[in-house]
């Protein structure tokens, strides 16, 4: 086997993407847990911790640039490196959603939650699970898994829809709840976006393995159609 050094560096790269992924996964779950418990200290930690996620992303990006410049990757190697550039960017943005949720908890101050959180933690759990599965599929270049993971996005969208309607009911009954409802809607929206970005990672995995750019159908359009009814 030629190119042992390059192979080793590619393995290191995959490991680093997994580390970044698990940092993001934890941040998402922790941000919702902190909100549920109204633990502002924990949220502050997540808010500050986003810097670490950003730094890790830049480190990997730098590593990618060096590999491209020094190894002249071709074919599968080229698709892998180019796709990693996209994937780490998706992960970094997911980290920002967790930071956004932490920020909401901080800004809510002493105000109590409008309602106990049931569906929102479920959204977070499904999103984090999807992310975990997507990164496993990425490492194994498992096309079948990459195609099936995004189906779970429907569940997240359905929960988002439910949260949206529920919060609207609060607002209609008592307009004074607008601000608190809006905070929670913002949280749910961030989690809905997490699942969408997982779909993007799955698309990249399919591209790495097959060389084909496929767009996995988004259910967002249906969601907005339903809102208009």
């Amino acid at each position: 086997m030629l190119r042992k050094t390059f192979e080793h560096e590619i393995q290191q790269l995959r490991d680093d993407v997994l580390v970044l992924g698990s940092m993001v996964e934890q941040a998402i779950l922790n941000s919702v847990e902190a909100l549920k418990k109204r633990d502002i200290k924990a949220s502050q930690k997540i808010f500050d911790g986003d810097k670490e996620i950003n730094k890790k992303r830049f480190d990997i990006e730098n590593q990618l640039m060096i590999l491209i410049a020094t190894q002249q990757p071709m074919a599968h190697d080229l698709r892998l490196l180019a796709s990693c550039m996209e994937i780490i960017s998706e992960l970094e943005r997911m980290g920002d959603y967790a930071k956004g949720i932490a920020n909401i908890n901080i800004r809510m101050g002493d105000a109590p939650l409008l309602k106990p959180l049931i569906d929102v933690p479920r959204m977070a759990q499904i999103g984090a699970d999807m992310l975990h599965q997507a990164l496993t599929a990425f490492v194994n270049e498992d096309v079948e898994a990459a195609k099936s993971i995004p189906v779970q996005d429907d569940e997240v969208d359905a929960l988002y829809n439910q949260v949206y309607r529920e919060l609207m009911t609060f607002v209609i009954q008592d307009p004074k709840t607008i601000e608190r409802a809006n905070w929670l809607l913002w949280v749910a929206h961030n989690l809905e976006r997490v699942a969408d970005r997982v779909t993007n990672i799955c698309e990249r995995t399919i591209f790495i393995a097959t060389g084909e750019m496929t767009e996995i159908k988004s259910t967002d359009d249906e969601f907005w159609k339903n809102q208009q009814k």
């Binding site: 086997m1 030629l2 190119r3 390059f6 002249q72 990757p73 071709m74 074919a75 599968h76 190697d77 080229l78 698709r79 097959t210 060389g211």
Partner: protein, 262 residues
């Protein structure tokens, strides 16, 4: 005389096999060469790249005992038909070699000589200038046309050889590792020049440098030994260059272009 026609491909091989005596060096090659495009032939050493290239202008016949099976079609007609004159073939399909090999004559004569032999009747000064301009050498040599071609740098000598090939107004220029003896700057000049030349000529290039094939060519033919014992080579994949270097179909091509075989 083969007429210039509007056949789909300027050159095309049909089940081409090439023999040196009993040794079958190349077998079963079916590739089209598109007009005004650069086609690269890549593959590991000893797989028959140069042999295939030389079959495009019957240069293999300069070695005794070579023979072919199948066909090489130029403008739709079989180049190896007994009625075809190999000398005519070689000036319509010119060649540039790995090591710059200018004649030990002046820069001017390097270009004028071949044209004169082929009966060029126009203004020789104009032809020399035009060929040197086309090969991006004019500005560097216009004040020293009487100097020996051998006094030029390696990169300049290679561009002089390209100018010399153009002097007989070929339709195709075959290049056998034209930049492998040159430094990176001279290499880039040759590569830039190829992009200019393809507007007027069709180019087929053999190169060991995969990045070069990726940079300069439109189509790529990947060659490999089909049988390690008999050392017979063939084209295992032929496609658009961008496809060969981003998503090749054949696992062996993938291994070669990613540097895992060679």
């Amino acid at each position: 005389m083969i007429e210039t026609q509007n056949s789909k491909y300027i050159l095309e091989t049909k089940d081409l096999g090439i023999y040196y005596g009993d040794f079958r060096a190349v077998t079963g090659v079916n590739i089209p060469i598109k007009r005004h495009m650069i086609t690269a032939i890549i593959g590991p050493s000893g797989c028959g790249k140069s042999t295939l290239l030389r079959a495009f202008n019957r240069m293999n016949e300069l070695f005794t005992g070579t023979s072919i099976e199948g066909e090489v079609r130029f403008e739709g007609e079989n180049l190896y038909d007994p009625t075809v004159d190999p000398v005519e073939v070689r000036y319509r399909i010119g060649m540039v070699f790995q090591k710059p090999n200018p004649f030990p004559k002046s820069i001017y004569e390097n270009i004028a000589w071949g044209a004169r032999i082929h009966g060029f009747k126009g203004k020789m000064d104009d032809l020399v200038e035009s060929c040197l301009r086309q090969s991006a050498l004019w500005d560097e040599v216009k004040d020293k046309l009487k100097q020996s071609g051998l006094a030029l740098s390696g990169g300049q000598q290679q561009r002089l050889c390209i100018a010399r090939a153009l002097a007989v107004q070929p339709e195709v220029v075959l290049m056998d590792e034209p930049a492998s003896a040159l430094d990176p700057i001279a290499t880039l000049k040759i590569e830039e020049l190829m992009q200019e030349l393809k507007k007027n000529y069709t180019i087929v290039i053999v190169t060991h440098n995969m990045q070069q094939a990726a940079r300069v060519s439109d189509s790529t033919a990947m060659m490999m030994l089909t049988n390690r014992e008999t050392h017979t080579g063939t084209v295992i994949e032929f496609d658009d260059t961008k496809k060969i270097f981003t998503n090749p179909k054949d696992k062996r091509t993938e291994d070669y272009v990613t540097g895992r075989f060679g």
